[in-house]
């Protein structure tokens, strides 16, 4: 059954008319044309589809689109502002914290949420917070380093 679902997507109001049971991931990737959010497992196990809802990381492959009504959603496409990369994106680039890049949008957004709730995480807290985002290429140590540096950078900006 189609319903009208309105929410804020990357600071813009959007509205879709679709079956509210459909996963947010596929509504983003098909109906809304934002393909930066990736499908990796479809069961919330890998984190490639991570987006931010009202400041919290969530796995868009297992979230029905009806549940984002009236919420603020941030995807990887909305993270850089006015052509300027977010400090986490900068740090990922600087530390080569990626190879194939397929897990990268989810990694960056999960890190974004982690740093919102804990702006000065220890290395162990970063490891724990990122544990269930999977990377097959093995960029883990660089991702940790990038998040540590981004945290420093963001602290300076506050």
């Amino acid at each position: 059954m189609n319903e009208n679902i309105s929410f804020t997507l990357n600071d813009k109001a959007v509205s879709v008319s679709t079956d509210g049971e459909r996963p947010l991931l596929w509504v983003l990737r098909t109906d809304l044309g934002l393909t930066g959010t990736k499908y990796g497992c479809g069961k919330g196990l890998c984190g490639a589809c991570t987006v931010i809802m009202d400041g919290m990381a969530l796995r868009s492959c297992v979230i029905p689109v009806s549940s984002v009504k009236g919420k603020e959603i941030l995807t990887i496409e909305g993270l850089a502002k006015n052509g300027k990369l977010h400090p986490i994106q900068e740090a990922f680039t600087k530390h080569d914290a990626l190879q194939c890049g397929f897990c990268t949008p989810g990694m960056i957004l999960n890190a974004y949420s982690l740093l919102l709730s804990n702006p000065e995480p220890s290395r162990q807290e970063i490891v724990d917070g990122m544990e269930y985002n999977l990377c097959r290429c093995g960029a883990h140590t660089r991702i940790i380093r990038a998040i540590e540096e981004a945290a420093q950078e963001m602290k300076g900006a506050r």
């Binding site: 990369l85 600087k94 093995g138 883990h140």
Partner: protein, 710 residues
């Protein structure tokens, strides 16, 4: 069933079907300078076609704006060739890195310079690319000499500007030189390339050129491409390999608006404008299959292989006489080593988008081998190879798994039947089913050590896989390697350094067993039995970095391990330190030191990435990764039962590169991965005294080995 058909062999048999014509590639390039060159093997004479000039398989173009473009069928899988090849070319041409554009992996624009596999891009393609760059530079210097009226040897280049060394203001840019020109050269001889000491970019760490697109979500992978009129497909996965579709009732889906069920032989799929809707509809299809009786499962597979091994074939060149070896031995050690099927589990599942325009078919595919797949698609659909164009956008990981691309054939068949463009992405469960796994295999070794600690006998049998990495770099006078028949019921193929992970695990475990039996320190035992000076240097560098000291007893309780390996011309050694929780059986690898001799290193940063990646991937197959199956049915469908390494697993990784700039470059994608099984098994033994002859070393297997330890 003939398992050879299931085996994805690293063969090029279809690759030369593709005509290479100047016209096809060079029209529309505009003015400037074109250098045509041939990388790798040229097609055999019999395979050349009349009227074709298969004298090049890659080319570079310096346009009238001075921009440099290199056209190659190599693929960016994450391993970094987009960066390292651009770096190589920019250095040779003396231009800035950002003025080089890599046009990769499009069969309509890039000739076929071979697949992307086996760590071949840097060693195979790199040197010829450098020569082509040098040739282009020579042409430009020639033009500049005429233009500036200065002898060639007085000219130098910086950042694409040629100038007189005696008067820097007398200068001309590459763009000014190429303007209005149309020069085509074929690389014939071996132009003088830069040597050690002359490099500006080679050997310097360079950040990835694709990072900006990848951190912003702009990088396009196959599944991100949208074309008008396209629909999404989900395939109906059979319950087992070897299953035959008996009947299909699709009425429940056919009757719904917006859905289309397509069947082409055994292939069944649902098409819909949304992939999630297509996937949901699969459960409404009623399909019946004939399923072959299973003969073995993940537990009985090794017994089956050994019992049905046949007579075997001696591999390579055996040496000496095994009976003599046995007589010389003071201790004879016999062991069997086991390793299960392992999935590639790339984060991007296999994906393809197929579009017919009249008779012409374009397929975007997550492929390591675009030309091979163009041929395969043409053959499977019964259309001319010249009608098929394959384009490979960014690929979300390969590791050998994307040498096979059944999804591209499926998408093409569906697009033809449906009469519209079809995007097919395998679900994660499809991926675990159709993946060409690293084969399960057993290795039986009978070896002997003499009273002086020298290995005198090595009788090595391989069941279920090939011999890559089995060749001995230990000096053993009496040795033989035998390959036995394979019996796979699942699809198997190349997985990051095929065969070598299992061969190295078996050999290096066994070396440690022998060292312990002979009462010799494992490092000392290796140094005594490996004569090769290059290898000795690698081993000693590793021991220094790790801080290895002989233990007073074995096992020492320190949790230290060593394993050596040899892959794609690279001698490698790993040292590891592990901690074993004897209650739970969990293993934590705390530190890994990796030493390799890779020859001339183009991008040390890229090598570091590949080394860390290889070690991390190795943790998975050493500790948890193993496919559960019965017969042709794969039980693992996602990352809940098939566990990949996570952040908390990753040890401190220290890399040492032996300085060898005067040696040719070697590929770094594979060597670091091959020793992980052996080094962790040896370290677990050193920590606990429990010897595991089977990987992955799951907590259950560790607990069992601890309970059984002598």
């Amino acid at each position: 069933m003939n398992e050879d058909k299931l085996q994805v062999a690293e063969s090029d048999r279809d690759e030369n079907l593709y005509p290479v014509s100047r016209r096809r590639f060079l029209q529309g390039l505009g003015g400037g300078i074109v250098i045509l060159f041939a990388a790798g093997e040229r097609p055999a004479r019999g395979q050349r076609r009349r009227g074709e000039r298969p004298d090049f398989n890659a080319y570079l173009h310096i346009g009238e704006d001075g921009g440099v473009t290199c056209y190659t069928s190599k693929v960016e899988l994450g391993q970094g060739p987009m960066t390292s090849l651009a770096q190589t070319l920019a250095d040779e041409l003396d231009v800035s890195l950002d003025s080089v554009d890599m046009v990769m992996s499009d069969t309509a624009r890039c000739p076929n310079d071979g697949p992307t596999w086996g760590s071949r891009t840097t060693p195979g393609f790199g040197p010829i690319l450098r020569a082509a760059g040098a040739e282009a530079r020579a042409v430009l210097i020639g033009l500049a000499a005429v233009r500036l009226k200065v002898p060639k040897d007085r000219l130098a280049v910086e950042d694409g500007v040629v100038f007189d060394k005696t008067r820097k203001s007398r200068k001309v840019t590459y763009a000014q030189l190429t303007k209005g020109k149309k020069i085509e050269r074929r690389l014939e001889g071996a132009p003088k390339v830069k040597t050690v000491g002359q490099y500006n970019l080679i050997g310097k760490p360079v950040n990835r050129l694709d990072a900006a697109e990848k951190v912003t979500g702009q990088a396009k992978y196959t599944g991100d491409i949208r074309i008008p009129g396209m629909v999404h497909a989900r395939v109906l996965r059979p319950p087992s390999h070897g299953a035959k579709l008996k009947s299909l009732d699709s009425a429940a889906v056919d009757s719904q608006d917006g859905y289309q069920v397509v069947r082409d032989g055994e292939l069944v799929a649902v098409l819909h404008k949304y992939p999630d809707m297509a996937e949901n509809a699969l459960s409404k299809l009623k399909a019946e299959y004939d399923i072959p009786e299973p003969r073995f499962d993940d537990k009985t597979v090794f017994d089956y292989f050994i019992k049905n091994a046949g007579k075997g074939k001696v591999n390579g060149r055996p040496a000496g006489n095994l009976d003599t070896g046995s007589r010389l031995a003071k201790e004879v050690v016999e062991e069997t080593y086991l390793n299960g099927y392992v999935a590639h589990a790339t984060m991007e599942t296999h994906t393809a988008l197929a579009q017919f325009e009249g008779d012409n078919l374009t397929v975007w595919a997550s492929s390591q081998t675009p030309y091979r797949h163009a041929s395969e698609i043409a053959r499977e659909l019964g259309i001319g190879a010249e009608k098929v164009r394959v384009i490979v956008p960014f690929v979300g990981g390969g590791f050998g798994g994307k040498i096979a691309n059944a999804q591209a054939v499926q998408a093409a068949k569906l697009a033809r039947k449906a009469g519209k463009p079809v995007l097919l992405a395998w679900s994660r469960a499809d991926e675990f089913f159709y993946d060409t796994f690293r084969p399960a295999a057993a290795v039986k070794i009978k070896s002997g050590v003499d009273a002086s600690g020298k290995i005198v006998l090595w009788d090595y049998g391989i069941y279920g896989m090939g011999s890559r990495g089995a060749g001995l770099f230990y000096d053993v006078p009496h040795n033989r390697i035998t390959l036995y028949q394979r019996h796979h019921r699942l699809l198997t193929g190349a997985w990051r350094a095929p065969d070598n992970n299992t061969n190295s695990f078996a050999r290096e475990s066994h070396i440690d067993v022998m060292a312990a039996r002979a009462g010799i320190d494992p490092l000392d035992f290796r140094l005594r039995n490996i004569k090769d000076a290059k290898f000795q240097r690698v081993i000693k560098a590793g021991a220094d970095k790790f801080g290895w000291t002989p233990a007073k007893k074995s096992p020492s309780g320190r949790g230290y391990g060593i394993a050596c390996g040899f892959d794609v011309g690279v001698p490698v050694i790993l040292f590891a330190e592990v901690e074993v929780n004897e209650r739970t059986g969990a293993v934590q690898v705390k530190r890994v030191v990796c030493v390799q001799n890779l020859g001339l290193v183009i991008n040390p940063e890229g090598v570091a990435l590949q080394t860390e990646g290889g070690v991390t991937m190795g943790l998975g197959y050493a500790l948890t990764e193993e496919v559960n199956f019965t017969g042709g049915a794969v039980h693992d469908q996602n990352f809940d039962t098939y566990e990949l390494p996570g952040f908390s697993w990753v040890p401190k990784i220290e890399m040492v590169l032996i300085e060898a700039d005067d040696e040719s470059s070697k590929g770094a994608g594979e060597p670091a991965c091959i020793c992980m099984g052996g080094v962790v098994a040896n370290a677990v033994y050193d920590a606990t005294g429990a010897r595991l002859n089977q990987i992955p070393m799951t907590p259950e297997r560790i607990r069992k080995a601890l309970a059984e330890r002598a």
